[in-house]
Symmetry: C2
Subunit: 333 residues, 2 copies
């Protein structure tokens, strides 16, 4: 696990969107977001105190999280100078960048000299087991999508927040880089070796209290030719008791695959349930989460009502309307 709280490194972000990792931490784990560190020209602002490394350390921060995408796929000299200073100031560093911290000799040397840790969350740091399919205690909910990038992480985080507010026993389980940085732990499932994918998901969602819910971050889509194997491993390793279907209604084709149409929500429901029943015969689809960002309020309301009537399940956009109706459905099973 990555030590919290964090100092968020925003670097020289060219725009706010580049800092979406920092924004995710700010939104979903505000207690972890102690302050921000910005370089000249930074165009992102998390509305957090700007802190120097010593100030943040004194305030309790123990990890500098790279909350921003880098430009051109390299870690610049300007960044490196700050990262070395952070190690010297007593911070670990956590990063989801494609170029790994561990591939930078200066950072490796400084971390070693200072006894600090470099967390490259894009690659696994655990030898996961092969899945054994053993029934675990506690309950699990998995978000599955008609496509990639339709809001599965957001849905699971919003449900966790709503459940925590109600005093329910719930944990978001990250399976991607952003989710891992937000929560401080998880499995970078797309970087796991094929034979160990389902085992990694079992490892991530162990036996727990009978009333505990794991809210498992989804990845890919059963209908996405590039990544469907990862989704399959989430279903068979996660052995969910409940599924949430996630959808973006204006997408014209599967992400990155022109010529591939999105499936219907009915097709997703039927296929995901068939697969889930292999490992958990009691699994149910409990609700639908729709990303209505591209729709007006009126369009969104009409679309959700239509889906709800058609599938007979609560259909909400958790960003517009909150996740409470999804949590109600989960609490009812």
């Amino acid at each position: 696990m990555i030590q919290t709280p964090y100092l968020l490194f925003l670097g020289d972000a060219p725009d706010p969107l580049a800092a979406k990792v920092a924004q995710g931490i700010r939104d979903w784990r505000p207690d972890f977001a102690l302050g921000q560190l910005r370089l000249d020209g930074c165009k992102a602002d998390m509305a957090l105190p700007d802190m120097t490394l010593p100030e943040a350390y004194a305030a309790g921060a123990r990890t500098l999280v790279i909350g921003v995408a880098n430009r051109g796929g390299v870690i610049s000299d300007a960044w490196k100078a700050v990262l070395v200073d952070a190690l010297k100031a007593g911070f670990d560093i956590a990063s989801g960048l494609h170029n790994l911290l561990r591939d930078e000799p200066e950072l490796v040397a400084a971390a070693k000299a200072e006894g600090r840790t470099l967390f490259d969350v894009r690659v696994p740091s655990v030898d996961y087991p092969i899945a054994d399919g053993t029934k675990r205690t506690g309950k699990r909910c998995l978000a599955v999508g008609t496509d990639c990038s339709v809001g599965k992480m957001y849905t699971a985080l919003a449900m966790e927040a709503a459940m925590t507010t109600r005093g329910m026993n719930a944990t978001f389980r990250a399976t991607g880089q952003t989710g891992i940085l937000i929560t401080g732990g998880g499995v970078p499932l797309d970087a796991v070796i094929a034979d160990f994918m389902a085992g990694a998901v079992e490892w991530l969602t162990p036996s727990n209290d009978a009333d505990h819910w794991d809210l498992i971050e989804g990845q890919g889509s059963l209908f996405h030719a590039s990544y469907s194997g990862v989704t399959m491993a989430l279903i068979h390793g996660g052995a969910p008791d409940a599924l949430i279907l996630c959808h973006e209604p204006t997408r014209e084709h599967m992400r990155g695959l022109p010529g591939y149409q999105l499936p219907t929500l009915e097709a997703l429901r039927d296929l995901a349930l068939t697969l889930a029943h292999v490992v958990n015969p009691g699994c149910q689809v409990v609700g639908i989460s729709v990303n209505t960002k591209a729709l007006s309020d009126a369009e969104a309301t009409a679309y959700l009502a239509e889906v709800e009537a058609r599938l007979g399940l609560p259909a909400v956009d958790p960003f517009r309307h909150g996740a409470d109706r999804l949590v109600d459905a989960l609490a009812a099973i």
Copy 2:
């Protein structure tokens, strides 16, 4: 690609079963099996000429293939001495062992000094692309199983042999270690990073002549909780035109998963077709391959007749009866 023909290293095999890789090469690629090299106490015999390293090299062999499992998970000193001699005699070495040749400093040093190659086929040697789902020319057939280890590799190899005998244009595509050693190339799919699984299968089965069939070796099972993600990637990366269902009728539970029942052939047919249609709407199930080793001749005949009537598809045991009826079915689509 691994250079052929081979000298098959049988080591100190404690019994014939330990040499199943060598047996597979002997059975399916007899032209590659120039000779065998056995140590004292070897209990396996491929009925090939026993050759010294210089004799085999003079006869044209260019790769020493480790055709036997090792004992205790270590490469013994006795083996190492032979392997170093082989490198000095001009051979590459190919191995599917869990302990990698590249992790043995003496072998690495000798290979480097001699300019030879160590092929550890258990781990990928290619940076596979992410699948792009593009339609390729030529045709593809994939074997899918109700469980792991039900005869998928055997079925695909037997179909390739029957097709080659008929003058059809067909290539077995290996996706596991044994298949790779038998044919000299392929993808060790269970060792590929999750994001690249389907792309590796696309890479393995590129566009080809319109009348060409790839016979893709299956892995895992859609119904096996540990490995189903690998099977999914085979279906979506392979985009098969034809599926062969493979089954072993006496198995009491899924391999390695007590408490998990095997699915029916009907359930496998329906699920595999649903998934295949995502990438290839024309995909058909053309036949059923049953491993009847545990049944008498009369039992096997009765079982196959029952399955054939029930599913309305040719059902054969290619080991007992040959793969011709499966090939007839393939040729008809």
